[in-house]
Symmetry: C2
Subunit: 210 residues, 2 copies
DNA sequence: ATAATATCGATAACAAAGTATCGATATGTC
DNA sequence: GACATATCGATACTTTGTTATCGATATTAT
């Protein structure tokens, strides 16, 4: 079987949230059409997405079992075996992420945070902030695979290199730089400027039409 | 001319940052190959992207004028005429965004923030937090087009509806819900779970190969 | 001047993602 | 029990995005 496409993969968490809602409301089955309507998608797209992760598939006339889908998507996305992560850069954004409860739903657990100015800042969640020099040892000791970068752009590449040298295999980068990484490292640049570009382009189109 | 593709559009801010760096270092021209190498892209992809926004195009052997590209991409992305925005939900994430200096580079200016608990919280930037009930009037008065949502998922749809009723035309949603909006509203759901799904999928693949 | 070369833009080939169509099949209705 | 219908999965088609190819053209070196 081919790997799932990036687009399908990104739709799965959205489906899952919706399915959890249905589940909570006691709804036991759902059709691809219903899901598609909710998210302005084509039903065929939804069926193809679900075909990747669903063992039994859907039944004619009734659709898919909500409970099954919830279990299968959760499993597929790795929400059942939580991954540890470290975060570097406990500033405004880093603190917000550290204090965010939502990540546990997504199988992510931030086990330690690091900054260069540990003496000054206090994390709102009262978790300890370690000096960045402690990172390599801790990462190696705990076998942490994921690193989150929330430092200023100028420091991001250096932090990235340090993470990789310490054994980190996946990097989630919130600083506005496209990090340079070897091919055996997973990297996701969370580029707000790119998002904003898409949004304001659409806004311009809408304003022009009115 | 056809509209630019979403993918191209999202690459432009990345190019721009790089070009600004080159510009700062006094480099006057750059080839599509050089840009492509920097971001692990195909040179043809880069040339096509630049063809959309560049008036004169590049010159054989030398490439593109850095200064021209910087000016043209900035203009194309609307960085020269700043758009006003309002933010609702001055919690952990909302405060971080409010205090973020970077948005001014992207032509975004947050002119006011709102919450339902204005008396309790103090924004780190000392800007005033308005009660959510003030939103419609202010948005209408200032003609604000963009709304940023950083409230809990449960409240997000209600805030979204309020924004739309007040005249907001573009919504940047950071809560983990896919908001339901009419077609004449631009919406960007900033779904961290989707990003994380992509990252951890790649991580899994990498770990499997080792 | 002439030749060598890096680069461009245009066009064409390819790949991937999305959409339409259609026969098969559960489920509920007459 | 026959019939209508909602839905599925498979296949085919369309659209969109990426990559390869190639002739044309500045620039540099001989
Ligand atoms: N604040 C936001 O809402 C926001 C939004 C989008 C992107 N970003 C990006 O996220 C990053 C962080 O933004 P912020 O607003 O939280 O900035 P911030 O200045 O509040 O925090 C940055 C933190 O990183 C620490 N730091 C700097 N260099 C370091 C190093 N080499 N090692 C360890 N720690 C180091 C600083 O001490 C500081 O605590 C920036 O790159 C920013 O562009 C922020
Ligand atoms: N904190 C993070 O790093 C993070 C990361 C990803 C996504 N998010 C999402 O962003 C949103 C905000 O997260 P947070 O951590 O800042 O939460 P938070 O609880 O710190 O802040 C939420 C704020 O919204 C306000 N609010 C609630 N209902 C409101 C309403 N109807 N009108 C106006 N204001 C209202 C609350 O008073 C509070 O100040 C959530 O949806 C969260 O899932 C947060």
């Amino acid at each position: 079987m081919e790997g799932i496409s990036k687009e399908s993969l990104q739709r799965l968490p959205t489906y899952l949230r919706y399915l959890n809602e249905l589940h909570l409301n006691g709804i036991e089955s759902v059709s691809s059409t219903t899901i598609a309507d909710r998210f302005k998608l084509n039903p065929v797209t939804v069926r193809k997405d679900l075909a990747f992760i669903s063992e039994d598939g859907g039944k004619p006339k009734t659709g898919f079992s909500v409970a099954d889908l919830v279990a299968e998507i959760s499993e597929f996305l790795g929400y059942n075996n939580t991954q540890d992560a470290v975060l570097v850069g406990v500033g405004k954004l880093g603190s917000a992420l550290l204090g965010y409860k939502g990540f546990s739903n997504y199988g992510l657990n931030i086990v330690a945070s690091f900054d260069c100015k540990t003496d000054i800042q206090i994390d709102s969640t009262k978790r300890e902030i370690n000096n960045i020099s402690m990172l390599p040892d801790l990462v190696k000791r705990l076998g942490v695979n994921i690193g989150i970068i929330t430092v200023p752009a100028e420091s991001a590449q250096a932090v990235c290199d340090l993470m990789i040298n310490s054994g980190i295999k996946a990097i989630w980068n919130f600083s506005p730089t496209h990090l340079i990484t070897p091919d055996n490292i997973a990297i996701k640049n969370e580029d707000m400027a790119a998002s904003l570009a898409v949004l304001s382009q659409r806004l311009t189109a809408i304003l022009k039409n009115e």
